[in-house]
Amino acid sequence: MSTNNSMKRSMGLKASARISNTIIYIVLIAMSFIWLIPFICIVLQSFRVESTWQVGYVIPQKWGLDNYVKLFHSDFTRWYLNTFIIAVVTALLQTVIVLCMSYTLSRFRFKMRKALMQFMLILGMFPGMLTMIILYRVLKDLGMTQANAVPGLILVYIASSGMGYYVSKGFFDTIPKSLDEAARVDGATRAQVLTKIILPLAKPIVIYTILTAFMAPWGDFVFARYISFGTSAGMNVAVGMYNWLNKDMINSWYTMFCAGGVIVAIPVTILFMCLQKYYVEGVTGGAVKG
């Protein structure tokens, strides 16, 4: 009798779990669809060849790669290359700086260490835009604006990167110090401890740092527009393509704009798809790793 009851109860639980799972999946699918609509529209528009104008329908009547071909015969390639150089160089330098800074703050004890950390925390609360005017002035004096905006932007992006130490320092703090000590006794220098012991153990956080360091300059608009200041040679994709949206150009460049959007999204999508496993681990890893 009691076995029958418990069987009924477990069957009831299974059924209610199935119903709640179904509802969750329906909601998630609906949300994904809503989120994906703009992307789907952009992709479809990028293959439309019957006109470059904005039209009242989504699915193209004539399909083709004309927009992409035209795109690569415009300034887009220059902007894309600029963006790529800025993002890759920034990602590399910023990652090195952030990881070294985090390691230093996690492992070394020196005068004013806590004060420095608090100072950087407070400094980080001010919006970066506040520094725009003075930065422009400084970069202009250094000859790093307009056509030379690429090194200027790299400088701006990496200059304050040490302040983004929080997440990786938190992760490094969870790695036992006795590992550093064992390695140092084994004959390793501090740099070797970082590269041979700490970084392999902190792989998720390294990936996370690279991704975030790549993403910010890849999609930046405000600083990039300000520093390139209307010179096409110094623009990144976001700034360059934005110019196609003004009312004189939109109708002849709209579908190219969509094609550009697709090309811009490709490297970021590939990066995320390859590294998403580590990315999620990196964001949550520091909190749970004992």
């Binding site: 006795s178 006794v185 004959g187």
Partner: protein, 382 residues
């Protein structure tokens, strides 16, 4: 292989992060010790006595606030750990979790840029000695505590280091494994034949492993000596209480001198201090008065009523197998512990040793210890 010399070594910790008022804690005070080549020295003491700090100063993992540390005649105060040619085993093993056992052991050799075939030979050799050959390709997380500790020892073994440092290497192991590993460390020491500095809070480890034991308290050395020396001739109350289990009994009593002979009178029962101990006491010629008498639990014997023994009431009888530990209290409420070999007890005596029963105790005067009540120093050996 080398000697290690510590001269007036001091460690001061201060809060220097710029956010707090400066606080100073002296963890190690004027530490002087000359460790001979191939000697096995054990630092022992309770938590916070500065033993690990001293070891870490030898290793170069802590800055030395004052004094000098010499390894093989060279002052190493300003040398990085990697330049001191030492090997160290940590309490929590400190194995590199992302490397296999082989890579863990080979790590230091690779840093020395040793040829791979020589590394292979050394690693497999060490693994064979430690019985971990079959685990060489495993990651540390797939090993048990004992196996991990062997890997940690292996990692230290493969290097031809001058000094072998061990920081409580057995304290994370269970009691049975600890005994086994202790024996293995003795064998390892014979094989390596190098200078060992070993830190532990376990006096049994200290007694069984060390050629010399350094007993520390609050950053000060209390006594340095061979295991026999510190056990038989403790310089002060702390050493007497720390070495030996169960702990030595301490009784406040009068030391008197009659006709050239010394007497102690614990609990109103007068015992003469005779034999070699009496001679030593006479030579030291301490003044009479209230002293602290130290008697080890194994130096108290049970006697029958009417034989001049100290009357006590049995509180707890701990049967340890080969011996019994009797916790008794005297008429004035002082608690004492007595250790009696089981084979010395007749069935009748065993039956009598029940809670609440009266027992009579006699002290073996030839192994008594006498301490100054104020200075806590041994009246003979201090």
């Amino acid at each position: 292989m080398a000697n290690v010399k510590l001269t007036n070594v001091k460690k001061i910790y201060s809060s220097n992060d710029g956010t707090h008022k400066k606080d100073y804690v002296v963890a190690v005070h004027d530490f002087n010790l000359d460790i001979k080549d191939k000697e096995f020295v054990v630092f022992v003491g309770p938590s916070g006595c500065g033993k690990s700090t001293t070891l870490r100063m030898i290793a170069g993992l802590e800055d030395i606030s004052d004094g000098t540390v010499e390894i093989d005649g060279e002052v190493v105060n300003d040398l990085q750990p990697k330049d001191r040619n030492i090997a160290m085993v940590f309490q929590n093993y400190a194995l590199y979790p992302h490397m296999t056992v082989y890579d863990n052991i080979a790590f230091s050799l690779r840093l020395q840029k040793m040829p791979e075939d020589e590394i292979y030979e050394r690693v497999t050799n060490a693994a064979e000695i430690l019985g971990i050959t079959e685990y060489l390709m495993r990651k540390p997380r797939a090993l048990s505590g004992g196996q991990r500790q062997r890997v940690a020892i292996g990692r230290a073994m493969v290097r031809d280091s001058k000094v072998f440092l061990m920081d409580e290497p057995l304290s994370n192991l269970d009691a049975k494994l600890r005994n086994q590993m202790r024996a293995e460390i003795i064998l390892l020491r014979q094989k390596l034949n190098t200078t060992f500095v070993y830190v532990t809070h376990d006096q049994t480890e200290a007694m069984t492993l060390g050629d010399r034991i350094v007993i520390m308290k609050d950053g000060y050395i209390m006594q340095v000596g061979s295991p026999t020396e510190v056990f038989e001739r403790p310089k002060n109350l702390f050493v007497a209480g720390f070495i030996g289990a169960p702990q030595m009994n301490f009784i406040e009593c009068e030391l008197t001198r009659e006709g050239g002979e010394y007497f102690v009178k614990p609990f109103g029962v007068k015992f003469p201090v005779d034999g070699a101990k009496g001679q030593e006491l006479k030579k030291a010629n301490p003044s009479t008065g209230t002293i602290v008498l130290g008697v080890r639990p194994e130096h108290i014997v049970l006697t029958d009523a009417g034989q001049g023994g100290i009357p006590c009431t049995l509180e707890v009888n701990e049967m340890m197998g080969s011996e019994v530990h009797l916790h008794v209290y005297t008429e004035d409420g002082t608690r004492l512990v007595v250790r009696v070999p089981t084979m010395n007890l007749s069935q009748e005596q065993r039956d009598h040793l029940k809670q609440g029963n009266k027992v009579y105790l006699k002290f073996e005067s030839k192994v008594m210890h006498f301490f100054n009540k104020e200075t806590e120093q041994n009246l003979i050996y201090a």
